[in-house]
Amino acid sequence: MSRNVIVWAVVIIVSAVGGALIQGQIDQKSAPVAAKSEPKSAPAATTPAAPAQTAATGGTLDAVRQRGSVLCGVNTGLAGFGIADSQGKWTGLDVDICRGVAAAVLGDAEKVKYTPLTTQQRFTALQSKEIDILSRNTTWTLGRDTSLGLNFVGITFFDGQGFMVRTASKVTNAKSLNGATVCVQPGTTTELNLADFFRSNNMKFQPVVIESLQELTGAFVAGRCDAMTTDISGLVSIRATQAKPDDFLVLPDVISKEPLGPVVRHGDDQWFDIVKWTIFAMIEAEEKGITSANVEQMKSSEDPAIKRLLGVTAGNGEALGLKEDWAANVIKLVGNYGESYDRNIKAQLGLERGINNLWTKGGLVYAPPVR
């Protein structure tokens, strides 16, 4: 009998100790945040019904400096945008935005803490201040920009929905897909866009709805549907990883606009500016031919635009509330937009620049003057 008492005592002690440890961690986690003493202009508790009031009360920059790291919400795993590599290190175009902001604010691109987020969690995490930036291939729409109490900073990647078919089917454009069975993921804008496209063109289709992208791809490859649809970037990478990529064809038609970009909270304009101009600095650097390799030599350039960007001519840093070498740090530690694109999107997905090229090279990527 006494043995049993001991066993249950063990269970209770373990629970108590576990609870104490966890409690200790809560205190540790919340202490610096609570000590921040923010003016409480926004209501303490916010519900999804009234998220527009989740307006930040400013001070994200101070909080980041005090904490010594940028809290970045990323995808749980999307190759090219935000994915943990075999060593658990986060890489991707979206990840590079956060690294860039950390480089601009703290002078160290590695001072980023990543929170992998699902689609459902992503906006809440930003609203509840779990993260400072949401950089998770999020499509910029009016609804999200306004009613969620969030601000889209800019566009880092121009995506769009497309179709992939089997080369043997001889289909070469989306208009000739009438009557086709189409593999699609449920509950996404992708599914709605698909229906819109076929309805507006007076065509019929048979959807094959499968939740996981892997299984969806498997079904398409196995011939269960004539076409599969998702974002072009996804289609290109799926095609590239097939045993015989030439058996498949990504149609040239793009049926929706999916501009992806990072998101911050409403109401903290200084932080909004910093994230925005970090992206613009990366784009401007590519336009001016400044790379992570030559940034130091470029500092002695005579071009006034380069001098302003790299902080040789002072002023920009002060205006943002940062050190004058903020952009130089971004370029040195993360690289310009093109470098990041090549390293992530091109290397991992095999996707060429296309409309994501600079405006000077026939693309849409454009930055206002950094002056």
Partner: protein
């Protein structure tokens, strides 16, 4: 004629004794011949173990190279690569401790001390911050250690709550009874996934501005609430199966409620409840994989994360088999131990007359 070769009780009779046995035998033989060689060929002979996706795509066989390339991400999630000896050590301590605790010979006060010591060690190992170990936030914990933490802490903390809830449900005080019944029924009435979503999406919105609670703790609390409600019903089963005479005898001796419950009722009731509690434990262990929906990289989540690598996306069968094998080892271990406990108790406990 047939009776000479096929005597009842022989193997041959079992296989071909009647026409339907013969049919089943032939069917099984056909399945074995049809399926086993291709499976062996896929899994072993044609399989590639080098971490080279191009070579893998070229072959028909399994691509164990995917596991070769990604096993550290699968086992330890996003934990910093150069520090992965820490979660490895933590997992080893966990397993050693759990196995040790299963052996009745070690059921002594020193075991409790060992647990306390080990838990502190594991926390220090995982979290760091002292002894020159860099701090690793819980958001970077992942893989097997995360699964073990969620399961062991979840069950360990849920169990005392379960006992209290079960006792409360049988309480003579109407308010306590109502509270316990409501809690159990409400929690049992919703799926675990909704509790996890509640913990990860809703809770941060209800908290005062500027206060955030670690995601791991929020998920853990969800699992504890769920496991407590389910285990409470198992414990109540044990309480109800206990002979009323035991309680009446304790009352007759003038024992207080606490003494009666602690010394007479619970030890017996919990013994009776062991099979169904084990059942709960096994299912909760597997349920922890649901944290993947809130973006945590437990064992299954880490596998999904590694499958998102465009190069390796097509090799999910190998990945799922690998993870299934790990889950299987743990679950079969738990169920075998429960069998042993049942037999052991059946031997040592006198049947109530």
């Amino acid at each position: 004629m047939t009776a000479r070769f096929l005597k009842e009780g022989t193997i041959l009779y079992g296989l071909f004794g009647t026409w339907y046995n013969a049919l089943l035998t032939l069917l099984s033989l056909w399945i074995i011949v049809e399926w086993v060689p291709p499976l062996l060929d896929w899994g072993i002979f044609s399989a590639k173990t080098a971490p080279d996706p191009a070579a893998c795509r070229a072959t028909f066989g399994a691509c164990w190279g995917f596991i070769h390339e990604k096993y550290r991400l699968i086992l330890f999630g996003g934990y910093p690569f150069e520090h992965q000896w820490r979660p490895l050590l933590t997992s080893i301590i966990f397993v050693v401790l759990l196995v040790t605790s299963c052996n009745k010979r070690f059921w002594q006060p020193s075991l409790a001390a060992a647990w306390v010591l080990a838990l502190i060690t594991m926390f220090v190992l995982m979290h760091g911050g002292v002894l020159g170990l860099p701090v690793v936030e819980s958001s970077r914990w992942g893989g097997l250690p995360l699964t073990l933490i969620l399961a062991v802490f979840g069950l360990g903390i849920a169990f005392p709550f379960a006992v209290v809830l079960a006792l409360g449900r049988r309480s003579k005080l109407p308010v306590i009874r109502a509270i316990c019944i409501t809690f159990i029924e409400v929690v049992r009435g919703v799926p675990l996934i909704s509790l996890l979503f509640m913990a990860s999406v809703m809770v941060p919105l209800f908290l005062p501005e500027g206060i955030t609670v670690d995601k791991l703790i929020r998920a853990e609390v969800g699992i504890i609430i769920f496991a407590a409600a389910y285990s409470a019903e198992s414990v109540r089963g044990g309480l109800q199966a206990l002979n009323r005479g035991q309680e009446e005898a304790a009352d007759a001796l003038g024992l207080s409620y606490f003494d009666k419950t602690w010394r007479i009722v619970l030890p017996q009731a919990l013994r009776i409840a062991i099979p169904s509690i084990t059942n709960n434990f096994i299912s909760t262990f597997k349920d922890t994989s649901l944290v993947v929906v809130i973006g945590m990289f437990d064992l299954l989540g880490a596998l999904k994360a590694s499958l998102n690598d465009a190069q390796w996306r097509t090799f999910y069968v190998e990945g799922y088999l690998f993870v299934a094998a790990i889950y299987f080892v743990f679950c079969i271990g738990m169920s075998k131990y429960a069998q042993y406990l049942e037999n052991d108790i059946g031997r040592t406990t006198a049947k109530p007359s």
